[in-house]
Subunit: 410 residues, 2 copies
C-alpha cells in the first residue's frame, strides 16, 4: 500500500460567520421550545394537576361570556349566515342578468356595510358579551367581510371575461375552448354559484375566492391528530394569558412570548388543522417573517391570507385605477390601521386610537430601518420593534380599561 | 388585452411543517440574542456605569489570582516553552537519524508525561493560584500535550513515507516527484523542522499538525475588529458568572446560557480572531451541533479541534492496530472523561469523579436517544440533556467546594 499523508485542514469559514452563507438553525427553534417548556414547567404541572389534561370547558367559556348560559357570540355566528346567503343570491341574479351590474354593486355595498356595522351594534348593546367574546365576534365578521368582498370581486371578473369572450366569438365565430384539467372536474363560471361552493369558501382558511382551489388528495390522519394535539395544548396557556391581563404585571417579554405562541397556535396548528379537514391544498399561511430584515418584509409575510387579500382586492385594483404606488401603500396601511382599531376599540368600548397609531407608526419605522440598518442588524431591529412595540400598545389599552372599570391602575 | 383570472392559490405545505423541508431560521438566532440582551439589559447598563466600556483589569485578574502581583499562571505559561523545545530537538535528531525511533518514542513519552504531570504538581503546591487560574493553566497544558502528540505523530508518518519512497527509489531507480503548488511554497519533510513552523503551530487554533496549513490570503481588518469587539463584550458577563458561582443560587437555565455564551465567545469570536491574526485558513471550529438529533452527533460536532485530534491520533490508529470499533469508541470516551476530570478535580483540589461519571453517562444516554427518539424529538432530547445535565455536574462540584472551604452550603 502506498503511504500518503491525509490532508487534515481545508480553507473554510465558520458556520456562524455571515460569509459562510449557512442558515440552518432548525435546532435553535427546538431550543426555544425546550426553554419555553422548561421555564413554564411549574405552570404546566400546576395546570395538569388542577384541570387535568383537558381544560374545564365552563372555565374556558367564562372567558368569552359573563353568563355561560346565554350565548350572544354563538347567536351572532348563526346570524352571519344571513349575509352569506344575501351575497349568494345577489351573485345568482347578476349571473343570469336579472339585475344590472350597478344594482348588484349597490346590493353588495349595502350587505358589506351591514356585515361591519351589525356586530358593532350588537357588541355595544349586548352587555353579557365579554371583551374576549367581542373580539372573537368582530374578528369573525371581519373575516366574513373580506371573504364576501373577494367573492363578489372574483365573480365580477368572471362576468367581464365571459363578456369579452362573447364579443370575440361574435367577431371571429370560433368555438370557446373548454379547459379541463387531467381527471379533475374544472368548474367555470357560472357553474361555481352553488351553496356547496360558497360554504366551502367560508370554512377554508383563506380570504381570496377562487373557482378552483387546489385540493389535497386525502386527509392525513396523523397530521390531523398532531395539529389537534397542538391546538389543545395551546389551551394550557389560558391561565398565563389571564395572569398577564393584570395591569402593570404585564411585562414586554412574556407578552411577546404569548404573541409567538398565539402565532404558532393560530397560523400553524389551527389553520393547518382546518385546511387538512377541508382538503384545502394551499398551506402558505405565513412565510419566513422571522428572517425579516425590513419592517415591510415582516408585514407582508407574517399573515399571508390578509396580505394576499390586500394585494388582490385593494392594492392592485387601486394601481389599475391609476393611483401611484406610495399612495396605494399608505391606503393599505390606513385600512389595516382602521381594522386593528375596529377589532380592539369596540369590544373594549374605548376609543383611544392606540392601535391605529401603532399601525401608522410602522410607516416611519419602516423608512428608518430600511434606510439605516440591514442584514442581521435589520432583523434585530424588527425583533426589537415586535418585542417592545406590541406590549406597549397592549399595555395602553389594558391600563385605560382598568382605570375605567375599576377606577384604579393597581 | 386578453382578460384572464390570475391563479391565487397553489398546492404547498406550511414552512413549519417538517414536510416542507424548510430550515432557514437565522432570524430565530437573532431573536435569541435580542432576548438575551433585553433580559440582561439592567446588568449591561449597571456594568457600563460601574466599569465603563472596558472592565477594570485588576478586577478581571483577581479572578485568576489571589495576589494579583505574583503571577504563577503566567510563569507556568513561560515554562511551557521548555516542553515545546524538547519536542522540537527530539524531532530534529530523529530526522537526521542521530537517535533511533525507539529512543525517540521514549523521549517523547517522557516529555508528554511531564507536560501533564508538571502543571498538576504546580497547581497543587502553589497556593496563590485560584481555581480559575488553575483551570486556565491546566487547559493550556492539555492543549500543548495534544499539539505535541500530534507533532510527533505527523513527523513519524513523514519519516515512514520517506523510508517507503527510498525503498521504491532503490527498486525502480526513478526520480522523486517534487510537488509544488501554484505559486505557493510547499514545505516537505524535513524542511518543516524549524522554530518558526513549530511556534506557528503552537499559536494557531487547531490541535492537528500538518506540514502545509491552508493560509488565508490577507488579514481582514473589519473581521478582526468585529471579533475583538465580541471578545471584549464577553467580559461583561464576568459578574454574571461570579453571581452564578454562589451555591444553590445556581439554576439550570442561566448556567446553560453561560455555557452558550462561552461557546460563542471561545469557539467563534476568540478562535476566529486568532486565526485571522495568524492567517490560518481552516475556520471549522464547530459544526451544526445545534441541529444534533443524536448524542453522538453532538459530541463529534461541537468541538471540532478536539474531535479531529481524537479521530486522527487516537481512534484511527487504534483501528489500524486491530481494535474493534465499539472498543475504540469507548476508549475515546474514557480518555475524554479522564481529561474532563483532570481539568476540574485538580484546580478545585477535590477528587469526586462527577465530571468523569458525567462523560461516561453519555454512552447509555446516546444509546437511549438513538434507540427511541429521532428528528426534532431527538434534537429536543439532546437540548434537554445539555440544559439539565451540565448544570447538575457543575452544581455537584460547587456544592462540595463550598462545603469544604466554608463548611456550609449556604
Amino acid at each position: 500500500a502506498k503511504l500518503t499523508l491525509v490532508i487534515c485542514h481545508v480553507m473554510q469559514e465558520s458556520l456562524l460567520s455571515s460569509a459562510s452563507g449557512y442558515s440552518n438553525y432548525r435546532g435553535i427553534l427546538n431550543w426555544c421550545v425546550v426553554m419555553l417548556v422548561l421555564s413554564n414547567a411549574r405552570l404546566f404541572l400546576e395546570n395538569l394537576i388542577k384541570y387535568g389534561i383537558l381544560v374545564d370547558p365552563i372555565q374556558v367559556v367564562s372567558l368569552f361570556l359573563k353568563d355561560p348560559y346565554s350565548w350572544p357570540a354563538a347567536c351572532l355566528m348563526i346570524v352571519s349566515n344571513v349575509f352569506v346567503i344575501a351575497t349568494f343570491y345577489t351573485e345568482r341574479r347578476l349571473a343570469v342578468g336579472k339585475i344590472s351590474e350597478s344594482t348588484g354593486l349597490m346590493l353588495h355595498g349595502l350587505n358589506l356595510t351591514a356585515i361591519l356595522v351589525f356586530p358593532v351594534v350588537m357588541v355595544l348593546c349586548v352587555t353579557s358579551l365579554t371583551p374576549v367574546g367581542g373580539v372573537l365576534s368582530l374578528g369573525i365578521y371581519t373575516i366574513l367581510f373580506m371573504k364576501m368582498y373577494s367573492y363578489k370581486d372574483t365573480n365580477r371578473w368572471c362576468r367581464e371575461i365571459r363578456l369579452a369572450k362573447v364579443k370575440r366569438l361574435t367577431r371571429s365565430n370560433s368555438c370557446p375552448s373548454v379547459t379541463r384539467l387531467s381527471g379533475k372536474t374544472h368548474v367555470s363560471y357560472p357553474g361555481n354559484l352553488t351553496y356547496r361552493d360558497i360554504y366551502y369558501f367560508v370554512f377554508i382558511p383563506t380570504l381570496c375566492y377562487e373557482l378552483n382551489f387546489p385540493r389535497s388528495p386525502r386527509i392525513r390522519k396523523r397530521f390531523l391528530l398532531r395539529r389537534l394535539f397542538e391546538m389543545v395544548r395551546g389551551h394550557w396557556m389560558v391561565p398565563t394569558v389571564q395572569n398577564s391581563m393584570k395591569p402593570f404585571q404585564v411585562q414586554a417579554v412574556p407578552n411577546h412570548l404569548i404573541w409567538l405562541i398565539f402565532f404558532y397556535w393560530f397560523f400553524h396548528s389551527s389553520m393547518n388543522f382546518v385546511a387538512e379537514l377541508m382538503q384545502f391544498g394551499d398551506r402558505e399561511f405565513y412565510r419566513d417573517w422571522w428572517n425579516s430584515e425590513t419592517v415591510t418584509y415582516f408585514w407582508s409575510n407574517w399573515n399571508i391570507p390578509v396580505h394576499k387579500w390586500c394585494l388582490r382586492h385593494f392594492y392592485k385594483p387601486m394601481l389599475r385605477k391609476g393611483v401611484n404606488k406610495f399612495m396605494a401603500q399608505t391606503a393599505v396601511f390606513l385600512a389595516s390601521a382602521f381594522f386593528h382599531e375596529y377589532l380592539v376599540s369596540i369590544p373594549l368600548r374605548m376609543f383611544r386610537l392606540w392601535a391605529f397609531s401603532g399601525m401608522m407608526a410602522q410607516v416611519p419605522l419602516a423608512w428608518f430601518v430600511g434606510r439605516f440598518l440591514n442584514g442581521n442588524y435589520g432583523n434585530a431591529a424588527v425583533w426589537m420593534s415586535l418585542i417592545i412595540g406590541q406590549p406597549v400598545a397592549v399595555l395602553m389599552y389594558v391600563h385605560d380599561y382598568y382605570v375605567i372599570h375599576y377606577g384604579t391602575s393597581e
